[in-house]
């Protein structure tokens, strides 16, 4: 992990119109940076806007407001054709449901090679095949698999195909949108280990979106917690787990089940009540409470959190 910023998101807003009058603020004024080579975890409940952030960054949606910079260059709004192509090549995505994201009527060779075809990365058919075989080997599949169709594979293998397809263009940033949620427990750890291995080998940067907090803690260097379209807390993984400050983060932490019956049975869980914040006079914003530990709060809460950290 270096200090070089790969992706910079500033005041990102993504609103969806419901009808003429009302709109949903799926992502509301969110800012963060992702450093080169790190894994940035994004957690939150369904509807918190974590998936929307990923999709907005990779330009699947036209963003309502704010700014995205990738490798120091503008990556949102109107761009030239070459700029768009460069972003498409360097930013890839892995989806949650590996069955739904693979075209059932294309064989694996063509699915994986789509990136090659679009960006014209191979000159000859042989070169194209070689690229496909080498990436398949990297994700733990054999070259015989190239001629088969998605339905012939198990869930874990399909997710490997999804990973191969994302990596074929040699991207710098991979957005992993709940890549293991749809998989069985014994397969999840295979895929997580694979993602870690590939990160080391290829120097990838991950934006890892998930709701499974124990897995996110294991895989991420830094974690942002989202609630209702806002990041409420952002810190290094261990710092966040050792010193969660925002009441929502605490409530999330208290809800993670652990494989330890004795402490599970006497564990206290608490619910988060958003009405506990009084933001009528004092405006909340992201404040840095410790180096690299940010929290969404107003001045009064900030003082209270600081007091808690000292205690």
């Amino acid at each position: 992990m270096s200090d070089k910023v790969l992706l910079k998101v500033e005041h990102l807003k993504q609103y969806f119109k419901l009808d003429r009058k009302s709109k949903v603020k799926a992502v509301d004024d969110v800012s963060f940076e992702i450093y080169e080579g790190e894994t940035f975890g994004l957690v939150g409940e369904s509807g918190s806007g974590k998936t929307t952030i990923g999709r907005s960054i990779i330009r699947l949606y036209e963003i309502t407001g704010g700014n995205v910079e990738f490798e120091g260059k503008q990556a949102s709004g109107k761009l030239k054709k070459e700029e768009r192509a460069s972003i498409a090549r360097n930013m890839q995505m892995i989806f949650q449901d590996p069955m739904a994201c693979l075209n059932p009527r294309m064989n694996i060779r063509d699915i994986v090679a789509e990136g090659i075809d679009i960006h014209k990365l191979a000159k000859t058919k042989e070169e194209r095949d070689e690229m496909v075989y080498s990436i398949l080997a990297k994700v733990g599949l054999a070259r015989e698999h190239a001629g088969r169709y998605p339905h012939e594979f198990s869930g874990g293998q399909r997710q490997r195909i999804g990973i191969a397809r994302a990596l074929i263009t040699n991207p710098k940033l991979v957005i992993c949108d709940e890549p293991i949620s749809a998989l069985d427990v014994s397969i999840q750890s295979q895929v997580v280990n694979l993602l870690k291995k590939l990160q080391k080998e290829l120097g990838l940067t991950y934006l890892f979106i998930a709701h499974d907090l124990s897995m996110v803690r294991y895989i991420s260097d830094r974690i942002a917690v989202m609630h209702k379209g806002k990041i409420v807390e952002l810190a290094d993984a261990e710092e966040l787990y050792n010193n969660p400050l925002h009441p929502y983060t605490r409530s999330l932490m208290s809800a993670i089940p652990t494989p330890d019956p004795k402490s599970e049975k006497q564990r206290a869980r608490f619910a988060y009540d958003p009405t506990q914040h009084d933001y009528t006079t004092d405006e909340p914003k992201m404040r840095e409470i410790r180096p690299k530990h940010f929290i969404y709060c107003n001045e009064k809460e900030f003082k209270a959190y600081q007091a808690e950290l000292v205690a």
Partner: protein, 350 residues
């Protein structure tokens, strides 16, 4: 010893498909005791849902029950015809399904859906049923029951819907409640609330619960005993303490070791290699032997019987045979168990 409420003996269920007979459940036996929670864990396709559907008499038409019996009050549920079964279903044995949106009727008010089972099963009058429904809505933690009574499922959130499903399941004071992945579709915080609710209501109604899940964290929280299923068989069964602090079957080791809780960052997660077997032609011998790092020759030839470890704990693996070599659990798992034991002996909670 507590009183047995349900006894499943040698249950074997297969499904007719174009490819052949899929052997979904193979020789499963367990007892359910009064007031306890028995968790059944396993991956998709391990046969856990088929087992629960057999108890509820909800198997699809292509299912064939090859042998076995399910004894409830000395009645073998598998021998009942549909009319007789209907007397038990809902009234004595009730079920909570995974997805509360598909298990509720979208064009019927919540109130009518709860009352329906009271009127059909317990012959309540409409007024009695309404009064009891309002009580139940209140009991599962939903505010203003009067207003909610006349609302439709789409006006409720996912967690609220699951509460309603639980209210319906408990409406007729069943003896056995089967929860089939009741929180899989829910967020973690909502999941925690629903689990609390199920535990509270279990105390309140004194019902025995069969809890089916793939989440070992949830099992640790919810259950008294746990059965681990793999390839249609129960491979290990015991109290939660037995199974979490002293697991014996390699598959249980793999499952527990692949959870990243308390896992140090640098250490690779333990991953069970390969994928679950096809159940049209289940492997000979121990079905897990192909994926296990601890397989012996005998595993590929003979199915291991259930070895008894203690009065509460048994596991089906040849490693427990007196002549088997002594083996070590995966490091990741052994380290965690040691750390947990030290923590609990020190008398400290987390």
């Amino acid at each position: 010893m507590k009183e047995k409420v349900l006894s499943v003996k040698n249950l074997t269920v297969s499904f007719k498909t174009h490819g052949g007979m899929v052997q979904a459940v193979r020789d499963v036996s367990f007892d359910l005791y009064q007031g306890e929670t028995l968790a059944i864990v396993g991956e998709s396709g391990s046969g856990k849902s088929v087992t629960s559907k057999s108890i509820m008499g909800l198997l699809s038409p292509n299912a064939v029950i090859e042998k076995g019996e399910i004894l409830y009050n000395d009645v073998d549920l598998l021998k009942l015809n549909e009319n007789d079964f209907a007397k038990y279903r809902g009234a004595d044995i009730a079920m909570v399904f995974q997805d509360p949106m598909t298990s509720l009727n979208p064009v019927m008010t919540i109130g009518n859906q709860i009352s329906e089972s009271l009127i059909n099963n317990l012959n309540y009058t409409k007024e009695q049923a309404k009064a009891r429904s309002l009580e139940l809505i209140d009991l599962v933690g939903i505010d203003s029951p009067e207003k909610r009574y006349n609302q439709y499922p789409h006006q409720f959130s996912g967690g609220m819907r699951q509460r309603i499903v639980i209210a319906i399941a408990l409406s007729c004071n069943p003896k056995i409640l089967i929860c089939d992945e009741p929180t899989t579709a829910l967020d973690v915080t909502t999941q925690a609330q629903i689990l609390e609710l199920i535990k509270d209501l279990q105390q309140h109604f004194g019902v025995s619960v069969i809890f089916i899940t793939h989440d070992l964290g949830v099992v640790a929280n919810m259950s008294d005993r746990v059965g681990v299923m793999y390839a249609g068989k129960i491979v290990e069964i015991g109290t939660v303490e037995d199974v979490y602090y002293d697991p014996r079957h390699p598959y249980t080791w793999g499952l527990l070791a692949s959870i990243p809780a308390f896992q140090a960052k640098g250490v690779e997660l333990y991953a069970i290699p390969g994928a679950p077997p096809q159940m049209i032609n289940p492997p000979k011998g121990d079905a897990f032997s192909l994926r296990s790092d601890w397989s012996m020759k005998v595993d590929f030839v003979h199915q291991p019987p259930m070895f008894k470890i203690s009065n509460t704990h048994s596991a089906a693996t040849w490693l427990l045979h007196p002549n088997a070599p002594k083996v070590e659990r995966p490091v990741q798992l052994q380290d965690r168990i040691d750390a947990l034991m030290r923590m609990h002996e020190g008398g400290k909670s987390e």
